[in-house]
C-alpha cells in the first residue's frame, strides 16, 4: 500500500503535462492489468482466486485514478476496496467455505453462448458510441480546479461540505443503517436456551451409566498389575477396573484355549 502511496504523487505529476509519455505508459500497463484481473474474476473456478483478481483490478484502478489527477480517490480506493471490501469478501469466503468451487454447469440451455453474444454486442455498442461521440473531445484538465483551493483534497472538501452537504449526510445515514442491518442479519437467536453445566451434569446422572471415575486396576489387590482387577470394599473383584482392550484380549485368549479342547472332544 505504501508503494502505491509513494507512486501516486509521481503519477499525478506525470499527468500534469497533458499527453505525457508517463501517463501513456501508466495507462497501458495498469489498464491491461485491470482487464486481466477482471477476466480472472470471471473465469477462475475458485472464489478465492476471483477475490484476489478483483484486488489486482482495484489496485490498478487506484493508480489510474491518481493518473487522472484524483490522488485522494486513488488512496480511498486502495484503503476502502483492497483494504476493507476485499478483506471482507475473503472473510466471508473463509466462513462459507474456500473449497466451494463454482460449478460451470449450465442451468439454462445455451446460457453461456447467449451471454457471450449479448455481452460482446453490449461492449461493441458502448465502445462504438464512446469512440464516435468522444473522438473530438479534449481534456480541460484539473490543474486549475485542484489549485483553486490549495489542492485536490481541499477542493473535494469544499465541494463535499458545501454543495454536497445534504448528500454527504444522507450517505452517512445509509452507512450507519447498513452497519446496523448487517448486525441484525448476522445475529443468531438461540432456538433453545443455552445448556449450562448443571444441565449437562443432570443428564449424565439420568443416563444411568456410572457417573464417576471407574476404579483403578490392582487397587486393594495383591499386585497393581494392569490386568489385575481391583477389589471392591466387599472383597469381590471389579471387572470394570480393567481397561476394555485387556478385557477383550483375556476373553479371546480364554476362548482360544477352550476351542482346541472342543475340537478334541468332537474328534472323540
Amino acid at each position: 500500500m505504501s508503494a502505491v502511496a509513494s507512486l501516486a504523487p509521481l503519477v499525478a505529476q506525470a499527468a500534469q503535462t497533458s499527453d505525457s509519455v508517463g501517463e501513456q505508459t501508466a495507462f497501458w500497463i495498469c489498464g491491461t492489468l485491470a482487464v486481466v484481473g477482471a477476466l480472472g474474476l470471471v473465469l477462475s473456478h475458485r472464489a478465492v482466486h476471483s477475490a484476489l483478481f478483483v484486488a489486482l483490478t482495484m489496485i490498478n484502478l487506484a493508480i489510474l485514478y491518481a493518473a487522472n489527477s484524483a490522488p485522494f480517490l486513488g488512496l480511498v480506493q486502495v484503503i476502502v476496496y483492497t483494504g476493507a471490501v476485499m478483506m471482507l469478501f475473503l472473510f466471508v469466503l473463509m466462513i462459507v467455505g474456500v473449497d466451494a468451487s463454482d460449478s460451470f454447469a449450465e442451468t439454462i440451455k445455451a446460457q453461456r453462448g447467449w451471454t457471450a453474444l449479448l455481452v460482446l454486442g453490449f461492449a461493441a455498442l458502448l465502445i462504438a458510441g464512446i469512440v464516435t461521440g468522444m473522438s473530438e473531445m479534449t481534456s480541460i484538465g484539473l490543474d486549475e480546479a485542484n489549485s483553486a483551493n490549495g489542492g485536490n483534497v481541499q477542493g473535494l472538501a469544499f465541494l463535499i461540505f458545501d454543495r454536497y452537504l445534504l448528500a454527504f449526510q444522507v450517505v452517512a445515514a445509509v452507512l450507519i443503517a447498513a452497519a446496523l442491518g448487517a448486525l441484525v442479519l448476522a445475529h443468531r437467536e438461540h432456538l433453545q436456551p443455552r445448556r449450562t453445566q448443571a444441565d449437562l451434569s443432570r443428564d449424565r446422572f439420568k443416563s444411568g451409566q456410572h457417573p464417576g471415575v471407574l476404579p483403578n486396576p490392582g487397587v486393594m489387590s495383591s499386585t497393581n498389575a494392569i490386568g489385575n482387577p481391583a477389589l471392591l470394599p466387599d472383597g469381590t473383584p471389579s471387572q470394570e477396573s480393567i481397561p476394555l482392550p485387556l478385557r477383550v484380549q483375556t476373553a479371546e485368549a480364554a476362548s482360544a484355549v477352550e476351542e482346541p479342547r472342543a475340537i478334541e472332544r468332537g474328534e472323540e
Binding site: V42, S50, L61, L142
Partner: protein
C-alpha cells in the same frame, strides 16, 4: 491523453462485470462482479471530471464508493444468512419464493 481512452477502458471493465453477473452461479462471485461494474462507473466519473475541469465527478465517485461499501456489508450479511440456512452459496438454489 484523450479522455475517451479511460472511458473505453471503463466500458470494457463494465462489460466484463456484466459477463460475470450473467455467467457465474456463486453468489459471492456475482457480488464481486457487481463491485467491478461500480468501479468501472467510478473510472468513467473520474475521467469525465478531468475532461470538464471540475471536481464534481470525483465527489460523485467518492459517494459511489461509500454506498458500495454499505451495499457490500448488507449483501455479504444476506449471503451468509442464506448460506447458514441452505448450506450453499449458489444463486440457483434459493428458489423458495418461486411458487
Amino acid at each position: 491523453m484523450e479522455p475517451s481512452a479511460y472511458v473505453v477502458l471503463s466500458a470494457i471493465l463494465f462489460t466484463i462485470g456484466t459477463f460475470g453477473v450473467l455467467l457465474r452461479r456463486n453468489a459471492i462471485v456475482v457480488f464481486m462482479s457487481v463491485e467491478l461494474m461500480l468501479n468501472a462507473a467510478n473510472l468513467a466519473f473520474v475521467a469525465f471530471a478531468r475532461m470538464h475541469g471540475k471536481l464534481d465527478g470525483q465527489v460523485i465517485a467518492f459517494f459511489v464508493m461509500v454506498v458500495a461499501a454499505a451495499e457490500v456489508v448488507v449483501g455479504l450479511a444476506i449471503i451468509m444468512l442464506i448460506f447458514r440456512t441452505r448450506r450453499s452459496a449458489n444463486v440457483d438454489e434459493p428458489s423458495l419464493l418461486r411458487n
